[in-house]
């Protein structure tokens, strides 16, 4: 690993369970707003984090570059930056690059180099790879993270971005000056790892392409899920739940073409006894999904908020072993670990409810066409 942290094992060299706080906000009309509310919401849950990791994902934040992939990268040495930029130039057209603006904050220290690149795949390279653009980009990201020491891509989507650091999430928001970005949805995460290397890449949200996941829990199925998903070219280098969950969602939604609803029936499949009570056609479909993707069932406590282009999805484990609250006010939908984290920014919601275990809450922009939240099937040759 890089020379920056030598005393403690880094994320990925050791598996670290964490407790956490999560929150998410979306405006279904597509109206853009700053991360201020997300910062306020997560600060109420200060005690659910321990200052060892916080972060945000915003969607709709780069309208002027919405057709380009925005890569956010941590560098721990200028050599890592040089190697990584060489790699990027070999594989992508670099449309724009800059340091990500930050503001000094007393609680955020040991800051790496933080860079942002807007890129698009080199057409010749892309066609030679026989992959579609998403798969091409995903493979490049996974390769950088696995092979270039001291470089870590922590955001790789379009018209979205992840901002994270070691610190309390509200401080991380100030550090990245997220007041100055506007998006139609935000998710935020405060981390409570039980043992910490204090590495920035290990903070959450975890993201691949335009998927980002914030997660609270410790899943007991971790190694079954990890060993399964690694068959399909993913590398779980961080050994965190969030990472494996993100890869499973990417696989099921983008590569297998399942709808998000169907993805939720895999990750938090209903008990067989529940499936058996369903109508024959539904029963067949649920059984098929559960059996076909049996190794992607997640057990143990989790609550996640998935961000994707055009929406948010919240999902709890089947027994609801972690708290998760949802609320609605006008065009806004709020999701959070605690009701207080919603009330602090929306004291008077039209509706507030506790989603049942295993029951996904999927919220999309009004402008999204039916079916747009579905993944698309890759040609078999690419799989």
């Amino acid at each position: 690993m890089d020379g920056y942290h030598q005393r403690m094992p880094l994320e990925g060299e050791v598996r670290i369970p964490s407790g956490c706080a999560i929150s998410g906000i979306i405006d279904r009309s597509g109206k853009r707003f700053s991360a201020r509310e997300a910062i306020t919401s997560i600060s109420v849950m200060h005690d659910r984090s321990n200052g060892l990791g916080g972060g945000f994902a915003g969607y709709g934040i780069y309208p002027e570059y919405k057709d380009y992939t925005a890569l956010h990268i941590f560098y721990y040495s200028s050599e890592a930056k040089r190697t990584c930029e060489e790699f990027l130039e070999e594989h992508f057209d670099l449309i724009n690059l800059s340091k990500i603006p930050t503001k000094k904050h007393p609680a955020i220290t040991d800051v790496p180099l933080i860079w942002r690149y807007f890129v698009t795949a080199l057409p010749t390279k892309l066609s030679f790879s026989q992959l579609d653009e998403d798969e091409y980009t995903a493979r490049c990201v996974i390769r950088i993270n696995r092979e270039i020491e001291g470089a870590y891509v922590f955001s790789s989507g379009k018209d979205m971005g992840v901002f994270k650091a070691v610190g309390f999430p509200e401080d991380v928001g100030e550090f990245y000056m997220l007041d100055e970005y506007e998006g139609y949805s935000w998710t935020v995460h405060g981390r409570y790892p039980t043992n910490t290397p204090g590495w920035w890449g290990g903070s959450h949200p975890f993201s691949l392409l335009s998927y980002s996941v914030v997660h609270n829990g410790e899943i007991s199925s971790y190694d079954a899920n990890r060993r399964h998903i690694e068959m399909y070219g993913y590398s779980c280098t961080l050994q965190t739940d969030t990472e494996v969950i993100t890869y499973m969602i990417d696989y099921l939604h983008r590569r297998m073409g399942l709808t998000l609803e169907e993805v939720s029936h895999v990750l938090a499949a209903p008990f067989w006894s529940t499936i058996e009570q369903k109508e024959p056609k539904e029963r067949e479909e649920y059984s098929y999904l559960r059996n076909t993707f049996a190794s992607m069932l997640i057990t143990g406590p989790f609550s996640i908020i998935l961000g994707f282009n055009g929406g948010l999805m919240a999902l709890n484990d089947r027994l609801k072993l972690r708290s998760l609250v949802a609320a609605e006010k006008g065009d806004r939908v709020y999701l959070a670990s605690e009701e207080a984290a919603i009330r602090v920014i929306e004291p008077d919601p039209d509706r507030l409810w506790y989603p049942s275990g295993g029951k996904a809450v999927i919220v999309t922009l009004d402008s999204m066409q039916e079916g747009e939240a579905h993944g698309h099937q890759l040609p078999v040759s690419a799989l």
């Binding site: 369970p17 199925s221 079954a224 060993r227 068959m231 098929y288 406590p301 072993l321």
Partner: protein, 501 residues
């Protein structure tokens, strides 16, 4: 006849104060150990005939009997141990191959006993199986790798034949012939009641048992005994037996003395003719031939039944399994070298093959590295002795478990390891009608159901402790295991960390 160098290994201790000379021991012993001495008016015994099966001990109404190991010794020698010397005497006397039964009694490492299971503390909750659903149901068979949808976009369930198991444990192959009619019936009844499967072994399926078909796996072995279209279609799945853990690389031999009318009809061979299974399938000399048999069987059953290929765990098992996974087989069954047998050459049983734990770990890892683990389900057997062995096997990567020795013990077997004599006093490994009737299928089936029900309770308790409430989340979940007292190489093969890491 020359001098008999062999001293009996056991002594029969009879408490004459307790013995009431009821002579039940004499009537119960098919080995003719006990007899009544008219002159002395008391029971006496010829311990040279005793196999230590405990039939007499268990039935003696006054507990007057016990069997102890003789303290007669050779001059001690760490290299030339007494059993080594005795085997040489035997072979010098007969010129024959030494025969043995059941799994090897040698002191090889049992890796199940060198792995420890995890439990939740603080960071995530354990789950109480008495209060929350705890699922042990599993499906065996190839998983489809592509989603198909109809015109309305609804998913078309396109999985080929799947075996549904309510518990992840099946009874593995024991042929009618190697075990009795009543033993087979006990297994069939128990499998039906438990929602799992038993396996015909290579001896065909007795006509009385066709109605257990939906809980039956029918086997096709190198002798092709009793294989016909109706048989293939009678079961829920078809197993091609390529090998057996206790005797990899060799065939089988059921002596003509055991081929009575029923067995002759079931196996479709002449009465009292020896039933010899060749060592290889003579139509399978390579992997491409296996593919042809797999598809011939699928054609014969119109692609409605999964095909299992059973192999013995041998040195290059992961490459073999990878070949099988690409052969069209739906399920691979691997039998470890501690697995049992009705008869095998002792030297082969005790020296050929590898432990199932290592075979399973390396096969599961290899299939994942090749990205084809989803093509097949993995079933393992070869001395699974308890629910914790089951948990460990699933965490290493098995979909389900085969048991046979444990099942026979539940039926009363005392592991005397003389099945090949055909004189099983417990009515299990015999075709003698007087002995067979000692095993009541109702009672036998009840014991099997009890055993697996108990194991399933324990499995649920341990799963709950780990915070896992569905068996599929345990499968291949090697973080739930730690090694204890294992070296680096062993840990690497098993793919687990050492305790404390």
């Amino acid at each position: 006849m020359g001098i008999n160098y062999l001293y009996p290994p056991f002594e029969i201790m009879r408490n004459q104060d307790r013995c009431i000379t009821c002579r039940v021991c004499e009537r119960q012993c098919a080995n003719l150990v006990h007899h009544y001495d008219e002159d002395k008016k008391r029971m006496t015994a010829d311990e040279s005939l005793c196999v230590n099966c405990h039939r007499c001990v268990s039935l003696c109404p006054t507990r007057a009997l016990k069997i102890v190991k003789t303290d007669h010794i050779f001059k001690e020698n760490a290299n030339w141990k007494s059993e080594v010397i005795e085997d040489i005497y035997r072979q010098a006397g007969t010129g024959g191959v030494l025969l043995a039964s059941m799994g090897t009694p040698k002191d090889y490492p049992v890796y199940w006993d060198k792995m420890l299971i995890n439990a939740s503390q603080v960071t995530n909750p354990s789950i109480d199986p008495l209060r929350e659903p705890m699922e042990t149901r599993t499906y065996l068979g190839r998983k489809s790798s592509k989603i198909s949808r109809d015109a309305e976009g609804r998913i078309i369930p396109n999985s080929s034949g799947q075996l549904k198991l309510d518990i992840p444990i099946m009874f593995s192959a024991m042929s009618y012939g190697s075990i009795s009619y009543n033993a087979h019936k006990s297994l069939a009844m128990a499998a039906s009641e438990l929602g799992t499967f038993y396996n015909t072994g290579e001896g065909g399926l007795h006509k009385d048992f066709y109605h257990y078909g939906k809980n039956t796996i029918v086997q096709v072995a190198s002798g092709r005994f009793g294989v016909h279209p109706e048989y293939l279609n009678a079961g829920a799945a078809i197993e091609i037996k390529m090998g057996q853990g206790a005797k990899p690389g060799i065939g089988g031999h059921l002596p003509g003395s055991k081929i009575g009318e029923d067995i002759s009809a079931t196996r479709m061979i002449p009465l009292h003719a020896d039933a010899i299974s060749p060592a290889p399938h003579h139509d399978i000399y390579s992997i491409e031939d296996l593919r042809q048999l797999v598809y011939a069987l699928k054609e014969a059953t119109r692609y409605t039944k999964p095909v299992i290929v059973k192999v013995a765990a041998v040195h290059n098992i992961s490459a073999i399994a990878s070949g099988i996974a690409r052969s069209g087989a739906d399920i691979i069954a691997i039998d470890g070298f501690r697995g049992g047998t009705g008869a095998a050459p002792a030297r082969i049983r005790d020296n050929v093959g590898i432990p199932i734990e290592l075979a399973l770990a390396s096969v599961d890892q290899r299939l994942r590295q090749e990205g084809i683990r989803g093509n097949v389900s993995l079933v393992v057997g070869g001395s699974i002795r308890s629910s914790s062995d089951v948990i460990k096997a699933i965490a290493l990567g098995a979909d389900a478990i085969y048991i046979a020795t444990s099942a026979l013990i539940a039926l009363g077997c005392h592991l005397c390891r003389t099945c090949h004599s055909g004189k099983c006093n417990w009515g299990i490994a015999t075709q003698n009608p007087e002995l067979v009737k000692r095993l009541n299928p109702e009672v036998g089936s009840n014991h099997l159901v009890n055993l697996l029900t108990a194991w399933n309770h324990e499995i649920k308790e341990m799963m709950g402790g780990m915070g896992i409430n569905s068996i599929e989340a345990l499968r291949g979940n090697r973080l739930m295991l730690r090694g204890i007292g294992l070296n680096e190489t062993e840990l690497k093969i098993l793919g687990i960390a050492h305790a404390g890491q």
